[in-house]
Symmetry: C2
Subunit: 109 residues, 2 copies
């Protein structure tokens, strides 16, 4: 029985209070997850600071990302990806709420 799915289906009809995380692959050296955002952002003054590298893709929707030390947000649309090295501090400053924004995030060492 092979594991299958569709990243764009089964999206929330309305806005959710929190981002929804779906773990697709979980191994010692790699984690693949789908994240559905409906307007959520990283709380003011907080940064993601991760132990592992992250390759992240906007599958659907749109978002803005701020990298620490950069003067402006980066705008991400469908198909855009970015490779965030471990400890590259970053914040999500905007996500499109409707239709939802779908991310694919791959964390690896």
């Amino acid at each position: 029985m092979l594991k299958t799915g569709n990243l764009k289906r089964d999206l929330a009809a309305g806005s959710l209070p929190d981002e929804a995380f779906y773990l697709l692959v979980d191994r010692p050296g790699i984690r693949i997850e789908r994240i559905v955002s409906t307007g959520q952002t990283t709380p003011e003054g907080q940064w993601y600071d991760q132990e592992t590298d992250e390759w992240v893709l906007v599958v659907a929707g749109a978002a803005r990302l701020r990298i620490e030390g950069e003067g402006d947000d980066r705008s991400l649309g469908e198909g855009d990806w970015i490779l965030l090295p471990a400890h590259c501090r970053h914040r999500v400053t905007w996500t499109r709420a409707a239709p939802p924004t779908v991310w694919l995030a791959i964390h690896f060492r």
Copy 2:
């Protein structure tokens, strides 16, 4: 300087003789690649038989996949993914040529 890109841009205008491979991440335990297919299939009688697990996503376009031992092809459309364990023999029996079919493949141990 962060590595960035867009999976859906810079597609070939016409059909290419071969599938186009773009290596996005290459580490000892993980390889992430983008593949652009313009009608190519696995040659008759051949199977992919890989040493590593593969998580594969159809980013754009459509394809058909045959898994050894299954009676029918599986149809894959945008957003569909499948986790192929190592040595799960499979063949690509059809890919949409125009606009091209874009895959994201993650190989890992």
